[in-house]
């Protein structure tokens, strides 16, 4: 549809489906959003439970109980956020869309146009092709215009958000080789969600560091597919994520061989300044400065630092985001703003929590 949907009187009515960290973070941001009038929470397993039993930090802020999931109800609000696991979104969302709902999905189920890639990397059947093809990939700082008319927004993954903000300006400028790109990702533990396991047990993660899913993380095809749109041809990335003993934050370190005109760090930084001039959530750091995850904590910001390594003819670009905000709930709210024709910063312009 071409025009932005208008909100119900009294502000937008929104539904949040799921009870993980993504949902909790959506609630935090939506509660502070001036145009949100009602927040409903849906669950499959804990209906009737008060939200502050699940998340005590919300006591006094949101006096609602979790509702049993009901597609009709969810379709009837202005917009619903699905912070549900891969697979669950693929099943739950199409019926809501068919009932006329408007959806922002935080899972990976509608991000890949290529169903066989989904099946290969996620190891389960892809969502229906129609909806995958109609979904708009909600990398809001790049594809904001496309989001404005969407019925279904596929909110990007946390690592892809960081990686693509670094890669797209370089690929668009044909400044780097589309092969041999190395993405070394480092994430805080909240990225693994609220489900308990030995892999996120405090005593095993604290004072520890490891790589995981080496070369086989499901964010690879998402990054490659979106990068390819700007490269005009296939892009191949070698991606290794690492688990860092902190709660929030992603730092993505991108290494790409330069093939553009000879440059230096100043030139590389300029390229980013031009790409993101006027973008309210992207801060391009001056030469000599490096992004830190704590400088964006709790916010929808993405900080980008760039160094040109003349010795090895390599662009080294680092991007810091808060994985739960810009990498999930914050970008989803930014997409909601875009969907409804609001200023994209509405409710999202907050100062990082430092230190």
């Amino acid at each position: 549809m071409a025009t932005a949907p208008s909100a119900s009187n009294g502000g937008l009515r929104v539904a949040v489906v799921g009870t993980g960290y993504g949902s909790a973070e959506l609630v935090r941001l939506l509660l502070d959003h001036p145009d949100v009038g009602e927040i409903r929470l849906y669950t499959h397993s804990r209906d009737g439970e008060a939200i502050d039993a699940l998340y005590p930090h919300l006591a006094g802020f949101l006096d609602v109980s979790l509702r049993a999931y009901d597609p009709g109800e969810v379709a009837s609000v202005d917009v619903s956020f699905f912070a549900t696991p891969h697979g669950a979104s693929a099943e739950l969302i199409p019926p809501v869309l068919e009932l006329g709902g408007r959806v922002i999905d935080l899972s990976g189920d509608f991000r890949l146009k290529d169903g066989s890639a989904y099946e290969a990397w996620y190891g389960r059947p892809a969502a229906p092709a129609t909806w995958r093809e109609n979904a708009v990939y909600g990398l809001a700082d790049v594809y904001g215009d496309a989001v404005r008319g969407a019925r279904l927004v596929a909110n990007p993954g946390c690592y892809p958000t960081a990686a693509l903000l670094a890669l797209i300006p370089l690929l668009r400028a044909e400044a780097i080789e589309p092969e041999g790109i190395v993405l070394d990702g480092k994430s805080g533990v909240s990225g693994a969600g609220r489900g308990v396991s030995l892999g996120v047990h405090f005593s095993e993660v604290n004072e520890n560091l490891r790589a995981y899913k080496v070369g086989r993380h499901q964010h690879v095809p998402e990054i490659e597919a979106e990068a390819a749109r700007w490269a005009g041809g296939p892009v191949r990335v070698t991606f290794v994520p690492h688990l860092v003993p902190m709660t929030r934050g992603i730092l993505m370190t991108v290494y790409a061989r330069w093939r553009g005109a000879p440059t230096d760090t100043e030139g590389l930084v300029d390229l980013y300044r031009k790409a993101y001039g006027g973008k309210p959530f992207v801060r391009v750091l001056p030469p000599g400065r490096q992004p830190e995850t704590k400088h964006v904590a709790g916010t929808n910001l993405a900080d980008i630092g760039a160094v040109f390594d003349g010795r090895t003819n390599t662009a080294i670009v680092t991007v810091a985001i808060d994985n739960l905000v810009k990498g999930a709930a914050g970008q989803a709210v930014q997409n909601m703003n875009l969907l409804f024709g609001r200023p994209e910063t509405l409710g999202l312009r907050r100062v990082p929590l430092f230190p």
Copy 2:
């Protein structure tokens, strides 16, 4: 004065003096405050420096440089916050007050009416008696009315804020013995400020825990003096602070011998519910729940949990606050709201950052 001062057109003009974490946190909160029109930053040593050189997380939020400290300028704004070290406040603030300024001081220099207590515990000369005596102790959730007409607010210390919120309702009800009170305080490292030293060196503090200033922390006389106002007689506390390997948060564990009518945990919790009913920043937890510092992170909230230990006839009360917000900058902004007749929650009603 009896009436609240009116703000200049275009919102309050405020000055922040100092460059430590207290100042940075004030800037964060003031930037999000709807009634603040202008923020000026003053320093003695770094004038001319851009604020984001000192605090890169503020890049894009506040495009100002640090100004050389000038008492006349500081006196001319609507209100100034002094987040300066003990001793510096005592020297800098009286001239500003004499020039007609209105001041909220975050140091300990104006908190004690008893100058000899100050000199004994702080080891330096006390601030002029006139100003100490006229200062209003800004424990905002308790003394809000007194703050409304103040020229000089002595913003409470971080530990005293937590301790007094626990003690005052018990002392007012004559429910506990005024002697033999044990205060076991635990603080995140940001409470030690931004000054570098081996005691806050990452490798020495991480995965480590220790007590410090055992029995001789300068917050003792502050707690005892304010507690005594409610006890109708002297109060003696044994206070041991501990340094915990986290950045933000204070948990104060209070142990007091019961002397009121026989009670239980439910009765104790009720006492707090009555004391803080309607107070927007104090959350009294239901029996069986304990406060956690992360449940108040980044906010002006104080969470209180109470257990009555019938075996030992002891009230055990735990209070969690964010030391930089409720324990410093947040309470200071709450005091600013009170000073200017604003709703005390203005600009301060934010959802905790969890996880």
Copy 3:
């Protein structure tokens, strides 16, 4: 029995039952022990599994697989360590003892002579009275002589070890009131074991602090019973444990009202120096110094600091231990040394891992 049992040729053969952190730590210490010839690991649920599948850090150090639990086998070694949960020890250990085995139990099942206290605090039936009564409470630095002849050693709890090392010298000297004692305990997360749950989920524990089991921790009766032996009458303690965002370490802060001859910090420290002179694992810190958990990390040491607060007539004693070593596996190995007539430091004299 009166004489120390002799080891089999080739060193002691030991069994470790259980797969939690206590067992892993026992393995670490036993591997470095010069008199241990064979280590067998027993489990109820994972038999056949290689130890390094369970604990990859042990790869290359111990090439054994977990064995299915068999009481006869366990009884046949020189000594067996049960690092099994409360309840499991009570069931498993008596048959081993009846078969002639020698056991060091790390659970709480044999620590309390008073079966009804066990049932009240643990909420389950007590172990058979005979064995509880015959068990020697293995606070090795205090009861070393009693351990020498034991068939069953009840290895102390982590918090009780720290609390009793502080309390016993004071009670023995009749220097403190036996009532009104406050024990504020702070523990790293490894004390909660390897079982996964939201309460030890990295993202919920990191940068967080809370009290738990306020006034009702099962270590209370253990502390009170052992303290009473030295007080010559009942002792009452108010104990609140706290969970600190670090992996290892306990810091116990003890507050007790003085009733001895007038003293000061120097006198208090002297009292401890006399109590622990010649004890190889207890370091009494000089006046003005406070113990830090990191100064004992990985070792069987207990560091004690003492301050006399003349204002409130209170002895403030802090004790730092590594909860998994002195608070569990290390003290168990010390008890093994005592059992077999070895020097108690054998295999345990290691420098703390700092930083």
Copy 4:
């Protein structure tokens, strides 16, 4: 010299120069070393101070005071370790060598044969060419034989140790391209030493992550020079170190384009198994397993995991070490063992501290 020097009666007499973490860790390891008879500590600035005033965790283990630095004394012991800053080693060590001393230097001053590379990357004059050229690069698991006859051992840097253990087997087998190698290093904060600064201030480092010295870390020429010896030609690496909020541990992630015969992960792991078979401190993990820094904490181990990414024809190799042990003091003691003809594991065969 061709034969191993013999120790003085009563064990080796060793000197440690410097007071940073490297020295403290040397003391820890040397105290547990069965062949070390005497440890002397030298300093330029704190002579006369007791070691446990500087490092309280050592109380009771080493009853010595720091001595004023004296080259004659240092030259007279069996071997001296210089854990001194870059620049200081270059000045202090040659006189000791000229007096007949035997030295293991932990700084970077004698690692580079190419003096101009030193000057370019370190920004200061290189040490005298004679001694640089005669120094043996002490990557003990690879160059053990060369170390055996050395007068001066240049102990490798922490990052180079990890990087070279990954690279050398690949380069020796001509299996990877010598250009386009990406080294993404992640280090705990202890690698920055004990000097205080805002960059290692707890509140700024905790819950934070950043890259530093992007493309210009002084370990680059060290890695390239040693790698070139095995490549038979120049090697170029792009190296970005990152600061991770933990105290100990380095994880190095190596990305290299394959040019050998077609392979897979199993083949790549086999290559490492062959390279390090029989090496006591290198553990090659089976396919599917990734090294974790905590699995080597406190030890001289290096854990290596390898994945072949067939999609991008890239070898991805991760190496975990304890930066203060294998990356500094542990490897130095291993080199001492080699120097004196001892088994290289003597005093170093310890189980990692986990969790």
